[in-house]
């Protein structure tokens, strides 16, 4: 297992009390695998990945649990060690490509900066590598693109540049936080193709966050569904889509309007709204909104099973 997260818990001390952003997240990732993480805002998906990257800089954050990368424990690792891994073996790309790059340097310079931060090579060699990378991510004219500034590129191009930058040191793990959300659909398809191709050529594992089930179905090998800071279901893509075991997953899938069949008179949605992370309900976090809840749900917190396809639902355990 390349990445092994066990019982990760992240909380923030705030003026209003302790916010439990994630509460006991565990998952594994093998080499070359693509894991999709799905959930609403506030579900903890971004925080989990930031924790893996060691990018939580808030001094009021408390991180507990275990994150093992290639056997090495990342929680509690000194900053300098983490920095050697970041950008080098574990890379991350963020949601909004428009603001992700520093406006005052060319993209060639910025990508080269990352390479030279981790490897001792000459500037000329680094720039040559940058050109290769830009070609890989389908820039039509890589040499010219290198001397462009971020504001001269469109959103899609910027995201490609960001991806090129993330891959520059051949990371074993690529983390992507909603990489296509800010882009329009046609551009989206291009980016997804790119990620697939790159997984094939670089053999990097990918964890990506999205709230779009369509993207999940296109890209993920395995899926993890999060709600209120907890994992509520995990499984392979086919298992999840054909046999969703958690009521939340089912509701998410149901809310996608169908392409075929009868036209529904109303779009189905999940009633209510996600709970405040300051005051999580006792028992199951999804309970108050769940269509199949029953008495024990209010007091007993369901555990995620250990199987490959598991759901944290008392109903499931029963069944």
């Amino acid at each position: 297992m390349m990445l092994s997260v066990r019982d990760l818990r992240v909380s923030f001390r705030t003026e209003d009390g302790l916010v439990q952003a994630i509460d006991g997240v565990s998952f594994d990732l093998a080499e070359g695998e693509i894991l999709g993480v799905v959930g609403e805002s506030g579900s903890g998906k971004t925080v989990s990945l930031l924790a893996v990257m060691g990018l939580i800089t808030d001094p009021n954050a408390v991180i507990e649990g275990s994150i093992r990368y290639k056997g090495r424990e990342l929680v509690g690792l000194p900053a300098r060690e983490l920095r050697r891994l970041r950008g080098n073996e574990i890379a991350m790309i963020f949601q909004d490509p428009m603001t992700a790059l520093t406006p005052v340097y060319t993209i060639g310079w910025q990508i080269a900066e990352q390479i030279r931060a981790h490897h001792r090579i000459s500037k000329a060699k680094a720039l040559a590598r940058v050109e290769e990378l830009l070609a890989e991510v389908n820039f039509p004219n890589p040499r010219e693109a290198m001397s462009r500034y971020p504001h001269q590129l469109s959103g899609g191009m910027r995201q490609r540049a960001v991806i090129a930058m993330a891959l520059s040191c051949n990371p074993a793990l690529l983390v992507a936080d909603e990489p296509t959300t800010a882009l329009d659909v046609t551009v989206q398809a291009g980016i997804l193709d790119l990620v697939r191709k790159l997984r094939a050529t670089h053999n990097s594992a990918v964890v990506f966050i999205t709230h779009d089930m369509g993207v999940v179905s296109e890209l993920a090998d395995r899926v993890m569904v999060m709600y209120a800071g907890r994992v509520v279901e995990r499984g392979s893509r086919s298992e999840l889509f054909s046999d969703p075991r958690h009521p939340y997953t089912r509701a998410l899938l149901d809310s996608i309007p169908p392409l075929t069949g009868d036209k529904p008179s109303r779009l189905s949605s999940i009633p209510g709204s996600p709970p405040s992370l300051l005051r999580l309900p006792q028992g199951c976090a999804f309970g108050p909104r769940c269509p199949v809840r029953y008495e024990p749900c209010a007091t007993e917190r369901p555990a995620l099973g250990t199987g490959v396809h598991a759901a944290a639902c008392l109903r499931e355990v029963e069944a």
């Binding site: 990018l55 950008g87 992700a100 504001h151």
Partner: protein
């Protein structure tokens, strides 16, 4: 980029023209008293008044008067002071320019360097005691009238502590030309430089600190961290570089105010014969031709300096350059 620079240049000329018109209007067209009497000075005889009236064209339309004024100040340079009996004003102004420039550039270099250091230090140690101390000192710097600070510096360095090793090197007030006495030039300017710089260090330290802190919240800083860059590099290469643009813009705006105002006061307090002192002396004597000339030249210089700073800005910010 050429286009942006040309456009700015045109703007500069326009502003210069506008200022010359305003100066003209103030001195020649303010209602309430006879412009000839103002120019000729308090005790002018009727013949002098008549001569003034004729030479400045008060019996002719306004735009002619404007033209004559411009000619006298810039082209022929034969504007003469009446209070000081025919002292040619324009050459005096030109002679005073190097003094003012020495003062202003020296102070500017000092303040830019120090405020960058302070801004970085304060932003990097945000909310620590050092940050608070630096900001408090900056606040003090902004709040003291610059001429008062100059007086205090004089009190300390010329009088009270003059005999101690700290200040015994301070020469008496006055300016020594660079060419003939470099060491003297430097020594006479050190205290004035510090005085002038204190005010601006206060302002710019705060501004830079705020700009850097704001930059550090931006998304691209998060990306830089994800790249595995060290915090120092992120601060200096990414946050600072982006903040410098705002810094330079502000600097441009203030440089003007500096020359027109604080520099003038500093020159007076330290007895440096720059344009400021010239203006001040002229004010004491109500020597209007001299004031007109100094105000005109000083303003033009300021507009020019602002434009130069803008040119630098165009070079610094790629976004402006390529749009």
């Amino acid at each position: 980029m050429i286009y942006a620079i040309l456009r700015r240049f045109g703007q500069m000329l326009f502003v210069m023209f506008g200022i010359s018109v305003i100066v003209f209007l103030i001195f020649f067209a303010t209602p309430g008293s006879d412009p000839a009497a103002r120019i000729a000075g308090r005790n002018a005889s009727p013949e002098v008044l008549e001569a003034v009236r004729h030479s400045f064209g008060f019996d002719r339309p306004l735009y002619v008067q404007y033209g004559l004024m411009i000619k006298k100040i810039f082209i022929t340079g034969d504007l003469t002071s009446f209070v000081n009996r025919g002292w040619k004003v324009v050459p005096a102004v030109l002679d005073a320019i190097p003094v003012t420039l020495s003062l202003v550039f020296g102070a500017a270099i000092l303040w830019v360097i120090v405020s960058v250091i302070i801004g970085i230090a304060a932003a990097a140690t945000r909310d620590s005691w050092l940050d608070k101390l630096l900001m408090a000192l900056g606040l003090l710097g902004i709040s003291m009238p610059v001429y008062w600070l100059g007086e205090v510096m004089n009190l300390i360095s010329q009088s009270r502590y003059h005999d101690t090793w700290l200040f015994s090197w301070v020469p008496p007030l006055g300016y020594k030309p660079l060419m003939s006495d470099p060491k003297g030039w430097f020594l006479t300017l050190v205290i004035p430089w510090i005085t002038l710089a204190v005010l601006y260090i206060g302002i710019y330290g705060r501004v830079l600190r705020a700009a850097i802190i704001e930059s550090m919240q931006e998304d691209f800083i998060r990306t830089a961290r994800a790249k595995g860059l060290s915090e120092t590099r992120i601060l200096l290469r990414h946050a600072l570089r982006t903040s410098l643009i705002a810094f330079v813009t502000l600097f441009g705006l203030d440089f003007g105010a500096l020359v027109g105002g604080s520099a003038l006061l500093t020159e007076v307090v330290f007895g440096l014969n720059g344009i400021g002192k010239l203006t001040y002396d002229a004010m004491q004597n109500l020597d209007l031709p001299m004031i007109m000339a100094t105000v005109m030249y000083a303003s033009m210089f300021v507009v020019l300096a602002n434009a130069v700073v803008d040119f630098i800005y165009i070079l610094l910010d790629p976004r402006v350059r390529t749009s």
